[in-house]
């Protein structure tokens, strides 16, 4: 589970992510579990001496194709055939990644399972029905294969900072890049924890209150109550935006650490900034021997 965050400022863009990756293991017949590694990289510089950073969350790669390689291939392509703006860069990534994602073996498996009728419900004539094991597999794949990306920075000759988010879903068509707004922060991966911190409530809890039968008012009235308790943030200078992005990730990691769940995020927090007057710069970046030093 990734915790990723971004701040789009008039001075530039700040990106941050944790470093823990979860790998499913099969220690024996019928057994499954997760092994956690704390030195994965989820924040990348696009190309060398570039002006764009990329965050990734949820799906960690496409088996034999790593994001590192795919981003390098994207950088090669952008150099050969330069788009005119940041939107073009994001669209190029959507097109490139979609080709590999849609043909990825596990995505194909998910689609095949989706075409069957659900386990535990009346069978549908003419199509197969998922058994219990396939139903569990389908539920895992449907969520685990969601791949999220944030591309942010600027694209010369335009130094205006901006960003786009792209979320690939195994059961949805190729996504279009969604633009991010200036003077805004964004968080992905474990959105509920961040929502609770900033808004005081998450959408699931709001939905449960409305569906409980005990709330007699309109949804808008509940919304009016909860927004009284929401925090916002001022327009931040870039270094304070760095602190903000770090704090979003750090507080989520700590919330998980002290919870009754396994710590599925953590490790070193990586941070990068792309100010409008400079290229991509690492603020905090793991050394290549960080896993060795962990012991």
């Amino acid at each position: 589970m990734t915790i990723a965050a971004c701040y789009i400022s008039a001075e530039g863009v700040v990106l941050g992510a944790d470093s823990t990756s979860s790998v499913m293991i099969n220690p024996g017949p019928g057994l499954v579990g997760f092994h956690y590694f704390n030195h994965n990289q989820k924040l990348f510089e696009l190309g060398e001496h570039g002006t764009i950073g990329i965050l990734t969350w949820n799906l960690g790669g496409l088996g034999t194709k790593s994001y590192r390689t795919l981003f390098a291939q994207l950088a090669d392509d952008l150099q050969k055939n330069r788009p005119t703006d940041l939107t073009g860069v994001a669209t190029r990534w959507a097109d490139q990644f979609w080709k590999d994602y849609d043909t990825y073996q596990l995505v194909q498996r998910c689609k095949a399972l989706a075409a069957m009728s659900p386990h535990g419900q009346p069978a549908v004539a003419g199509i197969g029905q998922r058994n219990e094991q396939e139903e569990n597999e389908f539920k895992q794949l449907k969520e685990g294969l969601v791949a999220g990306f944030c591309l942010a920075g600027y694209w010369l000759p335009d130094r205006t900072p901006g960003g786009f988010t792209l979320v690939f879903d195994p059961l949805a068509p190729k996504p279009a890049p969604q633009a991010l707004a200036i003077n805004s922060s964004y968080a992905w991966g474990a959105p509920n924890l961040f929502r609770r911190l900033i808004k005081g409530i998450d959408d699931g809890l709001k939905g449960d209150i409305l569906a409980s039968g005990h709330w007699k008012g309109a949804p808008a009235e509940l919304e009016a109550i909860v927004t009284k308790y929401a925090l916002g943030h001022a327009i931040l200078p870039i270094r304070d935006a760095v602190d903000y992005v770090y704090s979003c990730i750090h507080s989520t990691i700590r919330a998980m650490k002290f919870s009754n769940l396994f710590q599925i995020c953590g490790g070193p927090i990586e941070l990068a900034v792309i100010t409008t007057d400079r290229n991509f710069r690492w603020i905090r970046h793991k050394t290549w021997d960080s896993a060795v030093n962990e012991g």
């Binding site: 589970m1 499913m24 057994l31 499954v32 579990g33 997760f34 969350w57 949820n58 539920k139 895992q140 449907k142 969520e143 969601v146 999220g148 988010t165 979320v167 879903d169 969604q178 991010l180 707004a181 003077n183 805004s184 922060s185 964004y186 968080a187 992905w188 991966g189 474990a190 959105p191 509920n192 924890l193 961040f194 929502r195 900033i198 808004k199 998450d202 959408d203 699931g204 009016a224 927004t227 009284k228 929401a230 925090l231 916002g232 943030h233 001022a234 327009i235 931040l236 009754n260 769940l261 396994f262």
Partner: protein, 71 residues
């Protein structure tokens, strides 16, 4: 002078915070994890949220509109 409630008193109070007496949805979530080695997707989504979601907070906007999410 205060006294600590006994575990038997906590049994009827799921909000006591005693880790031995967790609310049923939490207990079921943990039981599934220890039995199978993974959390149920619905538990992960309920606690952590949907990986498709973005949490956006826009600066300099009135508080009621300052925090919103979109899918």
């Amino acid at each position: 002078m205060t006294t600590q409630p006994k575990h038997s008193e906590d049994a009827a109070n799921p909000a006591s915070g005693d880790t031995l007496q967790q609310p049923e949805p939490i207990r079921a979530m943990q039981e599934h994890f220890y039995r199978t080695g993974y959390y149920r997707p619905e538990d992960v989504t309920r606690v952590l949220g949907n990986p498709r979601d973005t949490v956006e907070v826009t600066a300099g906007v009135g508080l009621p509109a300052a925090a919103r999410t979109y899918k």
